[in-house]
């Protein structure tokens, strides 16, 4: 617990600068999330996902992006939110995450993509602790925008090691 608090503090102290910049905001389950633009490789519309057996439930499958096979996960299912049917606005954000020493490209199915925002550090707030049991290090912070809060995700931490291995194995 102390370690977690220290981690949070370390993060908050160290990543203030890190956290500012451009974020690609997207919408999921009526919530606005943001991913650092550096992590985002590409945004594509919905396309046919080839499902792969013996993969976790949130792993939707793989797609063929210009010859490259990229695994796709459903962020809703990853976050434990009920999955919905895909609409024409549903997009796949191809992110480049680094796990360990490797860089993996992965697709995330989101409900819709909004815009690229330039978020100032002043707008970013630290993640409040909801109790020690909650693991919230995948949230970089909360961005205050007019009328709401956008959750800035640390995509690297959204997927932990185990997932990594699974996905890496799948890819």
């Amino acid at each position: 617990m102390e370690q977690a608090a220290m981690t949070v503090g370390a993060v908050s102290a160290g990543t203030q600068e890190k956290r500012e910049g451009k974020y690609l905001t997207f919408c999921m389950a009526d919530e606005e999330y943001g991913i650092g633009i550096r992590k985002v490789k590409e945004i594509i519309g919905m396309m046919i996902i080839t499902s792969v057996p013996q993969t976790p439930g949130y792993v939707k499958g793989v797609i063929n992006l210009r010859g490259k096979v990229i695994p796709v996960i459903d962020l809703r299912l990853k976050f434990g939110i009920e999955s919905i049917a895909y609409t024409e606005r549903t997009c796949i954000i191809v992110v480049e995450i680094s796990g360990g020493d490797r860089k993996i490209q992965m697709g995330i199915v989101v409900d819709s993509v909004s815009e690229v925002l330039n978020i100032k550090p002043g707008d970013i707030e630290d993640t409040p602790t909801f109790g020690s049991t909650m693991d919230t290090d995948y949230i970089l912070g909360m961005a205050k925008m007019e009328g709401g809060v956008k959750i800035l995700l640390d995509i690297d931490r959204v997927l932990n090691d185990r997932d990594f291995q699974d996905i890496a194995g799948a890819a």
Partner: protein, 545 residues
């Protein structure tokens, strides 16, 4: 006694009286005959016997006299007396015959004793006489005188015997006469008694008979009177009842006429109904045609709306394509922004361009959205219009269905009206018949009223007859005023009957009833109920009384 008829009873009682008379008569006759027989017997036995004895006595005396004459003749005149013997023989023959006859007629023991003595004496005398005769003929005076002397004694005895016999006969006759007297007296007494008894019996029989006859007759008379009274009351009841019936029937006839008139009204209304129904049917047909036309137009309109919808949908699809393009453009812009961000400073200008492209994309998306919205509105409106059209069509369909049903109903109404008219005409006929029947009933009621009047009169007549009968039976007890009353009642009957009929006539009004009236009157005259029909009094039944 009750089982015999009156005639039998009468005959029987008269027969019994006759029988009594016969008995008395027979008794009297028998007694007469007995008397006659007794008298006859007296004559036969006693008188005849007496005469015979007397004759014998006479003969004896004449014989003796002959002898004395002969003696005188011989001795005094000295005549020849030889004929005396033959004379004596003749006399003997006669006398003995007479004695024999007498002997036969002797009945009683006393008579027999006397007769025997006489016969003995005669038997003793005769030889002496013979001797004397012989002596006389011979001229023996002394011998004849001696014989005469001896003969005189015996001759006297004979004479006495004869006399005794005569006396006996007389005594017997006397006895017989006494007996006859007794018999006659007895017979007289018995006849008297018998006559008295017969008279009493006859009177008793007469009284009993009278009672037997008159009592039932009186009872019958009472019963008849009561019956006549009851008949009179019943007939008056019948008369009043038939009067009521006639009244009710006339009322019925009046109401029937009303019914008939209202039926005619109903018939005319029904006909009107039928006509209206026919018109309605025709109109319904036209309405159906119009509706069909409208329905066709509605179909066309629906088709046009469909086409509009289709083109709208296609437009919408195109708009969707535009929207997709905008979206893709947005994505491209975002990608460009990402690349620009990756490029860092070098891609700053590119980022701006990307931003502008994104704006354009957003604008197109916006425009597309607006257009889409408009199209959606249009589609909605068109859809609404289509719905309305459909509803209208459905409504028209319903209308058609309803019109069809109405047509059916109107058809049914028309048919029903026809049947109703038919039924009404039948009811009319039935009412007419009912009217006829009512009139007949009225006539019958009047007939029965008059008949009951007649019955009443006949009951009165019967009462008077009964009174007459009572008079015949009772004489003073019942008043015999039946005759006069009868003639009075006959006249009153006619008047009363006519009055009744007139009263009924006054109450009934209308033409059709005249027929009934005349019928009633005619029948009252023609049909007369005789009392025999009401109370049968045939001869043989009368005997039962």
């Amino acid at each position: 006694m009750k089982k015999f008829s009156l005639g039998t009873k009468l005959v029987c009682s008269f027969l019994s009286v006759a029988l009594i008379t016969l008995i008395i008569g027979v008794f009297g006759i028998v007694q007469m005959r007995n008397l006659e027989k007794s008298g006859n017997a007296m004559y036969e036995e006693n008188v005849k016997g007496l005469s015979e004895v007397s004759e014998l006595n006479q003969m004896f005396l004449s014989m003796r006299l002959a002898i004395v004459y002969a003696i005188s003749n011989k001795f005094l005149w000295n005549n020849d007396v030889s004929s005396l013997k033959t004379k004596m023989e003749e006399m003997d023959k006669e006398g003995l015959a007479q004695v024999a006859k007498l002997d036969k007629s002797i009945a009683s023991a006393d008579d027999r004793k006397v007769f025997d003595k006489f016969k003995a004496d005669l038997g003793a005398y005769l030889p002496i006489r013979d001797k004397m005769v012989a002596a006389l003929i011979a001229g023996d005076k002394e011998g004849s005188t001696e014989a005469l002397k001896s003969g005189t004694q015996i001759g006297n005895a004979v004479t006495t015997g004869l006399k005794q016999m005569m006396e006996m006969e007389i005594a017997q006759a006397k006895k017989k006469a006494e007996e006859n007297a007794i018999t006659s007296t007895r017979a007289t007494w018995m006849a008297t008694i018998g006559t008295i008894v017969g008279i009493c019996l006859s009177i008793g029989l007469g009284v009993i008979l009278t009672i037997i006859i008159t009592r039932p007759i009186n009872k019958v008379i009472e019963g008849l009177s009561d019956g006549a009274d009851q008949i009179a009351s019943a007939s008056s009841q019948v008369s009043s009842a038939s009067q009521h019936l006639a009244e009710g029937t006339s009322e019925q006839a009046a109401s029937l006429e009303e019914t008939s008139s209202s039926l005619e009204e109903m018939a005319s209304m029904t006909k009107q109904n039928a006509d209206n129904a026919g018109q309605a049917k025709a109109m319904m047909g036209e309405a159906g045609h119009i509706v069909e036309k409208v329905s066709g137009h509605m179909d066309e309109m629906a088709r046009a709306i469909n086409e509009i919808t289709k083109s709208s949908e296609e437009t919408s699809k195109i708009i969707k394509t535009i929207d997709e393009i905008a979206f893709q453009t947005n994505l491209l812009a975002l990608n460009a922004a990402v690349e620009a961000a990756r490029a860092g400073e070098a891609g700053a200008g590119f980022a701006v361009v990307a931003e502008e492209v994104r704006n354009l994309a957003l604008r197109s998306a916006e425009a597309a959205k607006n257009t889409n919205r408009l199209i959606e509105n249009t589609i909605k409106a068109v859809h609404g219009g289509s719905q309305l059209t459909k509803l209208t069509q459905e409504a028209f369909q319903e209308n058609i269905a309803i019109a069809g049903k109405i047509g059916q109903l109107v058809d049914e109404i028309a048919t029903a009206s026809e049947e109703q008219a038919h039924g009404i005409s039948q009811v009319n006929i039935a009412v007419a018949e009912m009217d006829k029947v009512t009139q007949e009933t009225a006539a019958n009621a009047e007939e029965s009223a008059s008949a009951s009047e007649e019955l009443n009169a006949q009951a009165e007549q019967m009462k008077s007859y009964v009174q007459d009968l009572g008079a015949v039976v009772g004489g003073n007890g019942h008043n015999g005023a039946g005759h006069q009353a009868r003639s009075l009642r006959e006249s009153s009957y006619v008047g009363g009957g006519v009055r009744k009929l007139l009263a009924l006539t006054d109450k009934s009004g209308g033409n059709g009833k005249k027929q009934a009236r005349t019928a009633g009157r005619g029948s009252a005259k023609g049909k007369s109920i005789h009392p025999e029909q009401v109370i049968p009094m045939e001869e043989d039944k009368f005997h039962d009384f």
